[in-house]
Amino acid sequence: MNIEWGVIIAGFLTLMMFSFIFKDNPFFKFGEHLYLGIAVGYYVNIQWFNYMRPNLIEKLFPVLGPPNEATLATPDTLSFPDPNYYVLIPALLGIFIILRIIPKFAWLSRVSFAVYIGGYAGINFPMVINGVILPQLVAATAALVFVDAVNKLAFLDGINTLLMMIGTFCVLVYFFFSIEHKGAAGFLSKIGIYVLMITFGAAFGYTVMARMSLLIGRAQFLLFEWLKAFGLNLGA
């Protein structure tokens, strides 16, 4: 019989993590620390192979990367791209960040953060306007249509559009802190709070269901795969 060690170990680790439901215990602590180490090790590898190696190492030492596509057909004349020494600039900025661990040179990391955050602020500015604000405004101010394409009465669709318009407007009034929330502004912001509460409730319900789905997935794994590895076949 072929023993599926992977499934057996995965099952024990699943039970270890589940043991936290009762209370904090050494089994959970072991699993927690094991997960931490493995997750960080995973992240380092992904960071290295997917980002650092192709964008930094292979740019400095092209011979470690893929050869020029045009020369692939003739292995005798295989050639590689020219090195790109400009990547030494972000590498230096990266080293500045690591220098935070030496108090005397910690200020150097400001330069790196300035490039990173300043650059992203510039990228974000037009992207937020074109990608978030304008499309959302267009959607929020959609025409109130009470008949559909074939002139059939679609009263409820129109009411829904109107509700969405009012809801969005009231939420925005609630977020507008430059005026005191009194009188009409207070009334609208109160409705805004109600709309936000419904939104948070819906998001919460959705999140709980996603977690439940994961829980069912783990239970199915234990019952139908893990036990099967021990010769207990419960079907499915």
Binding site: V111, F113, A114, L163, F169, F200
Partner: protein, 219 residues
């Protein structure tokens, strides 16, 4: 001069890089596209080094726990062993795999990912369901109209998403969809617009040197 390098230079760099990225958006030219792509690569490299700092910090924390024999220091050994095992197995797997990716099926790294990381990660998120439910029980008691609305919306959405809800009353899925597509959407839209406007304000504050929290404290 020292003050210039420590205080003015970062603000100047944030302005120059920010404005370059902002202006290049409105210049549809291959060079502009090249500048953007190159900057994204720079950012990836800087983020890679920043990750090293985070990992060093984690290892340092656990090293101190071991050195000082703090309670539970044995578990810090587990973290160390797991980290270095995953690291070494990953580096070997990536080097010998045909695609150059350590996650190629059949490698040791892939085996560890599937049989160690995935089950622990999904179980961790699954048990969060219990804690979210117990926290909700305490937080969502209908003490005021706002909490009552939140509670009702959550219950209706949950009932509308499971076959049990439909078995109790056939209209639960319809009500759930209506809450998600109409009321929830208007709230989300308001939040998105608020966040978007804040992002623009923050971007302007950074570009013009008003926002300096990224520089940290001290000299």
């Amino acid at each position: 001069m020292a003050t210039f390098f420590r205080k003015q230079l970062p603000i100047l760099l944030a302005f120059v890089f920010g404005m370059t990225m902002l202006i290049r958006y409105y210049v549809p030219h291959p060079i502009s596209e090249q500048i953007y792509n190159e900057f994204i690569k720079w950012v990836i490299i800087i983020a890679g080094f920043a990750a090293i700092l985070g990992i060093l910090s984690l290892l340092h924390y656990h090293w101190n726990k071991i050195k000082r024999r703090q309670p539970g220091y044995g578990f810090s050994f587990v973290t160390y062993i797991a980290f270095f095992t995953m690291l070494v197995v990953g580096l070997i797997s990536g080097s010998i795999s045909e695609t150059g990716s350590p996650l190629e099926a059949g490698t040791g790294f892939h085996w560890m990912y599937i049989n160690l990381m995935v089950p622990m990660q999904s179980t961790m998120f699954a048990i969060l369901g219990f804690f979210v439910a117990s926290a909700a029980f305490r937080a969502f008691r209908a003490r005021n109209p706002e909490a009552t609305l939140l509670l009702i919306a959550a219950i209706l959405v949950m009932l509308g998403r499971v076959p049990l809800g439909e078995a109790i009353w056939g209209s639960f899925p319809t009500i759930s969809d209506w809450i998600l597509n109409v009321l929830n959407m208007s709230g989300q839209r308001g939040i998105l617009l608020g966040v978007g406007l804040s992002q623009i304000a923050m971007a302007l504050r950074i570009l013009f040197g008003i926002e300096r929290t990224y520089m940290g404290g001290g000299d």
